[in-house]
C-alpha cells in the first residue's frame, strides 16, 4: 500500500517535473509571437509573409494584418510583401510586434489613392500621377502648389506672379471652359472642394498627392471631374511610441530682377522731345542744361520698395498610437514677408487626427483642422480700371526728379501734376496701404468603417468645412486711393467684407472586395453622397472718413457707400458605382458610373450620368514577353474613355434674376429690372476624354516610362454667350460651343546608379497640349476679350481673341513695322514732310499727320491705310511643351537635388511696354523704361522705338509688345545631410537632417519683364498677359528636420 502511494507520488512528481521541465524547456525553445504588419499610412497589410530565417517555417498576415508564429528566442524573422522593402527583425521577447513596411522605390505595389478607394500602381487602368512629396518639398514652400509646377506631365501650374499667398493656377490637360472655371476639383482627405484654398494646407502635413487625369480616373467625380481631380491626403497617426517631429526653416528672399528705368538725364531728354516748351520752364531753369542732369542721381523707386525679406516656418507634430488607437497632432506656423515692403503671408494651423478601433469590425475616426491665413499688403496686379491706377505704374513711372532736378521722392503727389492726375508717390502708397485678407477655416470630418465580413465593407463619413474670409481695406491720406484730391473725391476710405462658406458632406461607400479564385478578382464599390453648401457675404464701405487716425474703426463717421449683402446655396446628390475586375493580374477592367443631381439646373436637367470604362493589359505578364525580354519588368497598355462634367456656374444661373437701383424724382425708389435671362434648358458642360497609355518598366523597375495620348472634347460649354441684342439681352448663360484639347505626355523615372552608399535618380517629364475652339455661339466666328474688360481704357478692347479652329486665346493686334523713315516722305517747298502716296498710313484717314519716326504698322489688305481689317493674330500664349527635369544624388547621409522646369513656345503680351516704351503725350510726365532711350530721332535714325509723341495715341496692341515667354528655370536645388544614427541617438534624437536650399535660382529666358511665368488676369481667355505684376523672388533657405 505504502509502495503504491509512493509510486503514485513519484509518478505525480515525475509528471509534475516533466510537465514543469517541459514547460520550461518549451519556454526557452519556442514561444508564440504575435504581431501586426502595416504600411506607412498605418493601413494593415493583408497577406504579408512572415518567415523564420533559419527554418522553412512561416505564416501570412490575416485580414487585420495580424499574425502569430511559434518562434525561438533570438530567432530572426523576415517580413516581406510585394512592393515593400523587406524587413529583418530579431525576436527578443514575446511582446507583440508592430511592423511598418515601407514601399520600395518605384514599386508597382505602391499604394495610390483613387477616387473613393485605394489601388496599387500595378492595378491602375486609368491615367493618374502620384506626386513625390519628398521631392517637391526639399526646398520649403509656403504652399505645395508653388512646388508642383513642372513636376507632373500634363499638369500646368502657373502662379500669376510672385505675390505671397497668391494661388497658383492649375490646369490639367488644357483648359476646357471659355468663360467658366478651369481649375481642378480638389479632394482633401476625401472632402471635395471646388474652391479649395491650397495655401491653407501646410506642405509638411501632406502625406500624398494624387492627380487624376483621364476620364477613367475622374469620372467617379462625375459632374465635377472634367477639369481633373487633385486628391490630397494628410498625415495620420502611426502605431508606435509617440514620435515628435520638428521641421523648421529660415529663408531670405530677394527679387531676381529689376527693370531698368530711365535716369534723370534720359527722362529729361525724352520730356524735352515730347513737350519742348514745358521742358524749358521745368527743367532748363536756374542755369540747368540737359547735360546737368547727368550728374543728378534721381530716385529709382524700385530700390525703395523692394527689400530682402525673411521667410520662416515651423512645424511640430506628435504622432503615435497603438493598434487600436492612432493619433496625430500637428501645429504649423509660417511667416513669409513679401519682397515688396509692407506685405506678406502668414499662416497658423492646428490639426488633430484620431483613428480608433471600436470593435474588431468597427473602426471610427475624426480629423479636425483649423487654419488661419493672412495675406496682406499691396497687390500690384489688382485695381485696374486704367493703367495709371496700378501699383507698378507709379513705381516705374513716377518721375526720378522733379522740376529743376529737385527731389520729389518725399511728397505725396508730384508737384507738377494736374489735380486730375492719378499718379501718386509709390513708396508712400505701398508703405501705407492696408489690405488684409484674413481666412479662417475649420474642417472637421468623422468616419466609421464597418467590416461586415471578409469581403464587404462600409465607410460612412460626415464632414463639414467652414470658412470665414474677411477682407479689410483702409486707405489713409498717404495712399493713392485715400489721398483727398480732385482725382480721388472719395478721400480717406475703407471697407470690410466678410464672406462665409459652409459646406457639409455625407458619403456612404460600400466596397466588396473578393478574390473569386486563382484567376478572378473583383472589387465592387457603390454608394451615395450628398453635399450642400451655402455662402454669404456681408460688408460695407465708407468714404471721406474724417478721423483718419481711427483707421477702419472710423468707418462709421464716413459717408456710407454700397452695402454688400449676398447669400447663396447649392446642393448636390450623387449615386456612384465602380467595378474592377482582374483576370490573372493580366487583364484589368474598370467601369464606373456616377449620377449627379444638382440644384443649379432646372428640373428636367437636374440629373446627369457620367460613365467611364477602361481596360489595361499587362503585356509584361504574358509568357512571350517574360521569356523573351528578361529586362522588361513591367509593360502595361491602358485604354480608357469616359464622360465627365463641369457645373461651375452661378448657383442660380438658370433663374431669371431682377436687380437694379434708381433714384427717381427726389424719392428713392429701387428700380427693379430684369438682370439675367432664365434658361430652363441649362445643363452640365460635358467632356468626353479618350486616353491611350503605356507603362514600361525595365531592369526590375529601375527605369520606368509612361506615355499617354489623350483627346478631350468639351461640349455644351456653359458659356456666357452673346445673343442677338434685339432680344433685350447682350449675354445669356447657354450651353453652347465646343473645345478640344489633344496632347501627349511622357514621364521617365530612372534610378541611374544604386549602390549601398550611392544613389542617383532622375525624373523627366514633358507634355504637349493643343487647344482648339471647335464651335462658339451660332454664327459666331470669334470671341474677343480685353484685360480691361469691355471698358478698355488702357489696352485694346479686343486684344485677346478666341477664333473657331484655333486656340481659345490668341493675341490680336497690328504687325509692328518699325518707324517711318525720311524716305517714306515727300518734302514740300515749305519743308513739310508729306507721306508718299504709295506708303501705308498708320491711321484710317490719310489726312492724319504722319511724320518721320512715327510708329508704323503693316498693311495686310493692301489698302494703304491701317484699320481694323489689318488686325491679325500676333501671339499664342499657349506653350508647345512644358516639362521638368529632376536629379537627386545621395551618398551616405548626403543628399543633393536639383530641379529644372521649362516652358517652350508661348508668347507673353508685355503690357508694360505699351505704356513705358510709348513716349505718348498721355504719359509724358511718367518715367519710361531705359530701353526707350533707343527711339528714333533725326540723330538716331536707326532707333527702334517711335520718336517721342510718334506712338499712336490710342489703345492698340501690336507685335511690339509680344515677347517669347519660353524659359528654362532652375526652380529648386537643395543639399542636405542626414546625421548618422549613432550621433543622432547620442543627442536624444531619432532622426536629424540639416539642409540648405534655393528656389528660382536662375532663369534662362529672352523675356524682358520681371518673370516669364506670368498671367496677371485670372481668365482662361486672357492668358500670358503681364502688366504691373509682383516680381518673383529668389529664396535661399536653411532648414532642419528632426524627430525624437
Amino acid at each position: 500500500m505504502k509502495i503504491k502511494l509512493l509510486e503514485l507520488k513519484f509518478v505525480l512528481l515525475v509528471f509534475l517535473f516533466t510537465a514543469v521541465s517541459t514547460q520550461s524547456f518549451f519556454a526557452q525553445q519556442r514561444f508564440n509571437l504575435v504581431g501586426t504588419v502595416v504600411d506607412k499610412a498605418g493601413e494593415s497589410i493583408i497577406g504579408a509573409n512572415i518567415k523564420l530565417k533559419e527554418e522553412q517555417k512561416g505564416t501570412i498576415t490575416d485580414l487585420n494584418g495580424k499574425f502569430s508564429l511559434q518562434v525561438f528566442k533570438n530567432a530572426q524573422i523576415v517580413v516581406s510583401y510585394i512592393g515593400m522593402e523587406p524587413q529583418t527583425l530579431k525576436v527578443v521577447d514575446n511582446k507583440p510586434l508592430y511592423i511598418v513596411l515601407e514601399a520600395s522605390a518605384q514599386s508597382l505595389d505602391e499604394v495610390v489613392v483613387i477616387g473613393y478607394g485605394q489601388s496599387t500602381k500595378r492595378d491602375l487602368t486609368g491615367s493618374m500621377s502620384k506626386v513625390n512629396i519628398d521631392d517637391i518639398t526639399k526646398a520649403p514652400v509656403p504652399s505645395v502648389t508653388d512646388a508642383l509646377g513642372g513636376r507632373i506631365a500634363g499638369v500646368s501650374v502657373t502662379s500669376p506672379d510672385g505675390q505671397p499667398g497668391a494661388a497658383a493656377n492649375i490646369v490639367i490637360r488644357g483648359s476646357n471652359s471659355l468663360t467658366g472655371d478651369n481649375s481642378p476639383l480638389y479632394v482633401i482627405d476625401g472632402f471635395p472642394l471646388e474652391n479649395a484654398q491650397l495655401n491653407a494646407t501646410p506642405p509638411e502635413d501632406i502625406e500624398s498627392i494624387e492627380i487624376l487625369k483621364d476620364a477613367s480616373a475622374t469620372a467617379i467625380y462625375g459632374a465635377r471631374g472634367s477639369n481633373g481631380v487633385i486628391i490630397i491626403t494628410t498625415k495620420k497617426g502611426k502605431v508606435g511610441k509617440p514620435t515628435v517631429s520638428y521641421d523648421g526653416s529660415f529663408g531670405m528672399q530677394k527679387v531676381t530682377k529689376l527693370v531698368d528705368v530711365m535716369s534723370p538725364y534720359e527722362f529729361v531728354r525724352m520730356y524735352n522731345e515730347v513737350e519742348p516748351v514745358l521742358a524749358q520752364s521745368r527743367y532748363f531753369i536756374n542755369g540747368l542744361t540737359l547735360d546737368s542732369y547727368k550728374d543728378i542721381a534721381g530716385t529709382n523707386y524700385q530700390n525703395e520698395i523692394f527689400r530682402e525679406a525673411p521667410m520662416h516656418s515651423h512645424n511640430i507634430a506628435v504622432r503615435g498610437g497603438t493598434e487600436a488607437t492612432k493619433y496625430s497632432v500637428s501645429l504649423n506656423y509660417m511667416d513669409q514677408k513679401g519682397v515688396m515692403v509692407n506685405g506678406g503671408f502668414k499662416r497658423m494651423q492646428g490639426k488633430f487626427v484620431l483613428d480608433q478601433e471600436i470593435t474588431k469590425k468597427i473602426k471610427a475616426g475624426i480629423n479636425v483642422g483649423y487654419v488661419q491665413s493672412d495675406t496682406y499688403g499691396s497687390t500690384p496686379s489688382e485695381f485696374g480700371f486704367k493703367a495709371e491706377t496700378y501699383i507698378m505704374t507709379d513705381v516705374w513711372g513716377y518721375r526720378p526728379i522733379g522740376t529743376g532736378g529737385e527731389d520729389i521722392s518725399e511728397g505725396a503727389t508730384d508737384p507738377d501734376d494736374l489735380p486730375t492726375d492719378l499718379r501718386f508717390n509709390p513708396v508712400l502708397n505701398i508703405k501705407n496701404i492696408y489690405n488684409d485678407k484674413l481666412n479662417n477655416n475649420l474642417s472637421a470630418n468623422v468616419y466609421i468603417d464597418i467590416n461586415f465580413n471578409k469581403y464587404l465593407k462600409l465607410r460612412s463619413t460626415l464632414g463639414t468645412n467652414i470658412s470665414i474670409y474677411k477682407n479689410s481695406e483702409f486707405y489713409n491720406s498717404n495712399t493713392k486711393r485715400g489721398n483727398p484730391r480732385l482725382s480721388n473725391p472719395e478721400g480717406v476710405n475703407g471697407q470690410v467684407i466678410y464672406n462665409e462658406n459652409n459646406t457639409w458632406l455625407n458619403e456612404n461607400i460600400m466596397t466588396y472586395n473578393r478574390k473569386l479564385n486563382k484567376n478572378h478578382k473583383i472589387i465592387v464599390m457603390g454608394g451615395f453622397t450628398a453635399q450642400s453648401a451655402n455662402s454669404s457675404s456681408y460688408g460695407s464701405r465708407a468714404i471721406n472718413l474724417p478721423y483718419e487716425s481711427l483707421g477702419l474703426s472710423g468707418m462709421d463717421h464716413g459717408k456710407p457707400q454700397l452695402i454688400t449683402a449676398k447669400t447663396s446655396e447649392w446642393t448636390l446628390a450623387s449615386f456612384l458605382g465602380r467595378v474592377n475586375y482582374d483576370y490573372k493580374s493580366r487583364i484589368l477592367f474598370t467601369a464606373s458610373m456616377r449620377a449627379d443631381g444638382s440644384s443649379k439646373f432646372p428640373t428636367e436637367n437636374k440629373w446627369s450620368y457620367f460613365p467611364s470604362g477602361s481596360v489595361a493589359w499587362r503585356i509584361g505578364e504574358e509568357n512571350f514577353v517574360k521569356n523573351n525580354f528578361k529586362s522588361i519588368s513591367d509593360l502595361k497598355l491602358r485604354i480608357s474613355s469616359g464622360v465627365t462634367g463641369n457645373n461651375r456656374v452661378g448657383d442660380f444661373a438658370a433663374f431669371e434674376q431682377m436687380a437694379g437701383t434708381y433714384y427717381y424724382n427726389g424719392n428713392t425708389y429701387d428700380a427693379i429690372v430684369p438682370a439675367s435671362l432664365a434658361n430652363k434648358y441649362l445643363k452640365w458642360e460635358s467632356t468626353r476624354q479618350d486616353n491611350i497609355g503605356l507603362d514600361l518598366g525595365l531592369f526590375a523597375q529601375r527605369l520606368t516610362l509612361t506615355v499617354d495620348l489623350y483627346n478631350k472634347v468639351t461640349n455644351n460649354l456653359l458659356l456666357n454667350s452673346q445673343i442677338a441684342p434685339s432680344t433685350g439681352y447682350r449675354f445669356a448663360m447657354k450651353n453652347i460651343g465646343k473645345v478640344a484639347n489633344r496632347g501627349v505626355e511622357l514621364t521617365i523615372n530612372s534610378v541611374n546608379i544604386k549602390t549601398k552608399n550611392f544613389q542617383w535618380t532622375t525624373n523627366f517629364n514633358i507634355s504637349f497640349n493643343k487647344n482648339e475652339v471647335l464651335e462658339l455661339s451660332e454664327g459666331q466666328h470669334s470671341y474677343s476679350s480685353s484685360p480691361n474688360g469691355t471698358s478698355g481704357t488702357s489696352f485694346s478692347p479686343n486684344m485677346y481673341i478666341a477664333i473657331v479652329g484655333q486656340p481659345m486665346a490668341q493675341m490680336l493686334g497690328y504687325v509692328w513695322d518699325g518707324v517711318y523713315q525720311y524716305s517714306d516722305f515727300n518734302v514740300t517747298p515749305t519743308g513739310a514732310y508729306v507721306l508718299k502716296n504709295d506708303v501705308t498710313c498708320n491711321s484710317p484717314s490719310r489726312t492724319n499727320v504722319v511724320q518721320p519716326g512715327y510708329v508704323k504698322f503693316r498693311d495686310l489688305n493692301g489698302d494703304k491705310i491701317i484699320n481694323t481689317s489689318d488686325l491679325t493674330t500676333i501671339g499664342n500664349p499657349f506653350p508647345i511643351h512644358i516639362g521638368g527635369f529632376n536629379n537627386t544624388i545621395t551618398y551616405k547621409g548626403f543628399e543633393l537635388s536639383a530641379f529644372l522646369q521649362w516652358s517652350y513656345g508661348n508668347d507673353i503680351y508685355n503690357g508694360n511696354r505699351d505704356i513705358f516704351e510709348s513716349g505718348r503725350l498721355t504719359y509724358k510726365n511718367m518715367n519710361h523704361f531705359a530701353t526707350f532711350a533707343n527711339r528714333w530721332s533725326p540723330d538716331n535714325q536707326t532707333g527702334v522705338f517711335p520718336v517721342a509723341r510718334g506712338d499712336y495715341e490710342g489703345n492698340y496692341a501690336s507685335t511690339r509688345s509680344v515677347e517669347d515667354g519660353s524659359f528654362l528655370r532652375m526652380k529648386m536645388a537643395s543639399a542636405g545631410y542626414y546625421f548618422n544614427k549613432k550621433i543622432v541617438k547620442s543627442i536624444g534624437l531619432s532622426k536629424l537632417k540639416l539642409y540648405i536650399s534655393g528656389t528660382n535660382l536662375f532663369t534662362l529666358t529672352n523675356y524682358g519683364g520681371y518673370d516669364p511665368e506670368v498671367s496677371a488676369i485670372k481668365n482662361a481667355l486672357i492668358p500670358g498677359f503681364d502688366y504691373s505684376t509682383y516680381p518673383r523672388a529668389r529664396t535661399f533657405t536653411v532648414g532642419v528636420n528632426a524627430e525624437f
Partner: protein, 525 residues
Amino acid sequence: MKTYNNIIKTLFLLLVLVFTSSCEDFLTTTPTDFISPENFYNTETEADMAIAGVYLSLNDLYKDVFKNGFSASTDETVYTYGGSANPMIIKTFDATTPDVYNIWSKLYLGVYRSNAFLKNINKLDVDSVKKNAFIAEARFLRGYYYYHLAMLFGDVPLRLEPIESPINTDLARTPREVVFDSVCADMKFATEHLYTYTLQKGAPVRACKEASTGVLARVYLSMAGVLNKPEYYAKALEILLPLVSSQTIKLNPDYTQIWKNISADTYDHVSKEIMFDVEFNADPYKYLYSGWASNVAPAAPTGGTYNSNDRFRVTTTFWQYYQSDKNDVRYNWNIADYNYNTTDVKTPKAAYTTNGSNATDRNPGKFRRDWEVALPRDPSKNGANFPILRYSDVLLMLSEAENEVNGPTDVAFAALDSVRSRAKAFKYSDLPIRPSQEELRTIIREERSRELCFESTTRYYDLIRWGIIFDKFTEVGNTLKQLGGTNGSNWANKLYFVLKPQHILFPIPQIEMQLNSKMTQNPGY
C-alpha cells in the same frame, strides 16, 4: 453577430430609401439673394419699382449716346475736338461701330423691359384705373423706344412679348410702317389711360397724359415726313389743338429759368413746361449721372471746377438763325458769349470781345453749370435731368401741323408767336405782311432750332423728316469752307461731306447680323 450585421444592413437600406425619396426636395433650392419675376409684382410699390426699371433705359440712352452725338454735325454744332472723333459724330460709322450697337441694344433693352413688365403686371391686384395706368406707362415707353428704332434703323424686328429663353431667338424685320403703327397704338393707349401731369406722381419723370399726347404728335409728324403721308399732319393737329386749348401746361415765362432749373436739378411744377424728362442723380455711386454737361457747356479748362471738354462749337449757319433778331434772349444763351478761362470758380468768366467774326469759336451755352447744387462739381458728370418734351415743342408742332394742313392761319401764328414772345423776339403776327405758307414753313424750321437746339435727337429727326438733311449739310459745309483757315475746311471735310444718302438709316450692328440669322442689313453697308 449575424443579427448585428442585419441591423446595420437594414439601417443602410433605410437610409438609401429615405435619401432617394427626399432627393428632389434636397435638390430644389430657392434663390435668397435676388428677386425673381415669380415673387415680384405683387404690390403697388413693387409695380412702381418695376416701372422705374423700364424708365431706366432712358437714363442709359440719354447719359450716353443720345446726349449730344445727334446735335453735333447737324446744322447746329460742329465737332471740333482735335483727337480721334466718335464715328457717330463724324458719320464714319459702320456696322461694327460701338455706338451703333449701343443705341440698338439699349433701345431693345428698353423694349424687353417694357414687355417683361407688361407680361407680369397682370398679377397685380388693383383696380382697373390703376392697372391700366401702369400698363399705359409701359406701353408709352415701349412706343418711345420703338419710335427711335424705326427712325434710326427703318424696318426692325418687332417684339411685343419678352423672350422666354436664349434658345431660338431669331426674328425677321417688320416693315417700318408697321412698327410705326405699333408705336401709335401704344401711344394711343397711353394717352387714354395715363394720369394727367397733376395726378401723376413723379411727373415729369413719369409719363403723363399730356406728355404722351405730345410724343404721339411728334410720331405723327415723323410719319408724315418719313413715310411721306401728309395725312398724319391732320392727325397731329387733331390731338394738339385740345392739348393747347386746355391750358393745363404753360410756358415758363423766362427762357433762361428753364435751364437754371435744370442745372439746379429742380422742377417747375407751376408752368409744367418740361412735360417729360429723364432723371439723373448727382451721386456717382448710383451711376445715374448725366455725362453731357461737360461736352455741350461753355468751354472751361480741363482740371477746373467747371471743366468742359470743349468738343463742340456752334456752326455759322446756326449763328445766322439769330441774326434776324439779336434781342432774342435765346441768342446769347444758346450760343455762349463767354467761356470759363480759369480753373477757379471765383474768377469771373471771360466774355467774348468779338461776336460774329469768330462765331465758330463759340460753344453751345444752353446747358450751363453755374446753378448746380451738388458741389464740388464733378468735372465730367452732373445730376441734371435731360428734357425730352417741352411745351414750346408742342406749340411749334401745332404751328407746323396747322400750316401744313390749313396754311398760315392765326392758329399757326399764335402758337409760333407765344414761343417767340417768351424769348423777347418779335412776333410774326405783328409783321405788316404775314409770311406765306412756304415762308412760314422755313420760319418754323429755323424757329425749332432757335428754341430746341442741342436737345438730343430733335434736330436730327427734324432734318430727316423734312427731307432736307443733305441740303443742310452741304450748306453748313460750304459756309465752313468759306470761313477759311485750316479749321474751317478741316471740319467741313471731316463732317459734312462724308454722309451719303444711304446713311440716313444706320447699319444693323454686326453682332445682331451674326447672331440673328433672319436679320438683313440696311443698304449701303
